[in-house]
């Protein structure tokens, strides 16, 4: 064997050793890669498992989440909820009270207006002793405070037992019929001394004379001295308000005394001037 051959053999064995080393390294690398792949697969499975668990927790928050909250937080939450409920009920109470106050304010306002109307009517009725002025004031009250368009004031003639028109508005005075006591709606209302209200009055004025809208006997104590007969209301006055009935009641008594006293006063003034004339004549 030559030196050259011996050298070649040595090199070959060296190469073989290196090759084996490389193969060993490659095997180890292959094993390591497989281990890594296994670990990766395991971790993936774990991630999927955790994700599913998280999903389940999010879907069912009540018991799971409530359990996860600390006891202190749960108690506080319960307290706040109780306070909220309490505040809600108090708010409801305050709102109901507010509505009640608003309603009361409206009622008081209405009462105030009604009283003002009644005061004005009463004040005006007794502001003069002039008979014609008293009649004029009654007409004004019926127009301005009640909203009457066509109406008449009748006075009773005790001797003839006839109701004679004394003043009117919205109708021709000459057209207003005289009424016998006890005859027709007006005569019967006066005789019975009871107010009459017609729920469905006629459209025609001539028929209204026989069947008027309202008939209010004017009384002093139990004596009837006349009546106010309302034939028609103003077109914008659709229905009677509660204050209108109060005004009718006021008119029944106060208008009667105002008419009666002013008539007495006017007559006595006339008589006084006549007597004064006689006295002056005698003393001359």
């Amino acid at each position: 064997m030559s030196i050259k051959e011996t050298g070649d053999k040595g090199k070959r064995s060296e190469h073989l050793e290196k090759g084996e080393e490389f193969l060993e390294m490659f095997r180890k690398g292959q094993e390591f890669t497989q281990d890594l792949l296994k670990e990766n697969e395991r971790l993936r499975f774990q991630v999927v498992h955790l994700e599913e668990e998280m999903k389940k927790r999010l879907e069912t928050p009540d018991s799971a989440q409530a359990n996860s909250l600390s006891q202190d937080m749960v108690e506080k939450l319960a307290q706040y909820e109780m306070r909220l409920e309490d505040l809600k009920s108090k708010l409801t109470e305050v709102e109901a009270e507010n509505i009640d106050f608003a309603q009361r304010y409206i009622d008081v306002e209405e009462q105030n207006n009604n009283l003002a109307n009644l005061y004005v009517a009463s004040f005006q009725l007794h502001s003069t002793l002039e008979y014609k002025e008293v009649l004029q004031i009654i007409l004004e009250i019926i127009i301005n405070l009640i909203g009457g368009e066509a109406f008449a004031i009748y006075l009773l003639d005790e001797k003839t037992k006839t109701l004679n028109p004394e003043a009117s508005e919205g109708v021709l005075f000459s057209e207003i019929p005289h009424v016998l006591l006890g005859e027709g709606v007006i005569g019967k209302a006066v005789m019975a001394n009871e107010s009459y209200f017609n729920e469905s009055p006629s459209e025609e004025l001539k028929e209204l004379y026989e069947d008027p809208l309202v008939c209010i006997p004017l009384t002093i104590q139990d004596d009837v001295i006349g009546t106010i007969v309302l034939f028609r209301l103003l077109q914008q006055k659709v229905t009677f308000a509660p204050v209108d009935f109060e005004l009718f009641t006021l008119l029944a008594g106060h208008a009667a005394t105002a008419i009666f006293s002013s008539r007495l006063f006017t007559e006595s003034k006339r008589k006084l001037s006549t007597y004064q004339g006689f006295l002056d004549l005698l003393s001359q």
Partner: protein
């Protein structure tokens, strides 16, 4: 609140008293009364008036004539005018508004309605 002067032009003393009653509920309200249009113009010339409340049907000078005279006068042309009347027809209202009235209230008046109209016109 600064004082406000109201001029009521109305031939019915009952109505004047009722309107005065309603207006007295406005703090600092002063009320001047006139019995017809001519009297109203006289009172208007001698008072600084913030708002006029006038009837339409009155003797001597009616409310519509008064409105046209007030509107044609440079000194009072901007004074708000509320017409108060028994006439509920639409044409009457349109006529009054065309002449220069600012608001129209029909009788029988309701104090609350009157006050809200006045407050609205004076922006109270």
């Amino acid at each position: 609140m600064a004082s406000l002067t109201f001029l009521i032009i109305e031939d019915s003393p009952t109505m004047r008293q009722l309107i005065r009653f309603a207006l007295n509920r406005i703090p600092g309200a002063e009320v001047v009364e006139a019995s017809d249009g001519v009297d109203g113009l006289k009172k208007l010339s001698s008072n600084q008036v913030d708002l006029i409340l006038s009837d339409i049907n009155m003797p001597i000078m009616d409310g519509l004539k008064l409105v046209s005279l007030v509107r044609s006068n440079e000194a009072y042309k901007d004074v708000p005018i509320v017409m108060i009347t028994t006439e509920g027809a639409k044409e009457d209202k349109e006529r009054a508004m065309a002449l220069g009235a600012n608001a129209y209230i029909t009788k029988p008046i309701q104090s609350t309605a009157l006050l809200s109209t006045v407050k609205e016109l004076l922006k109270l």
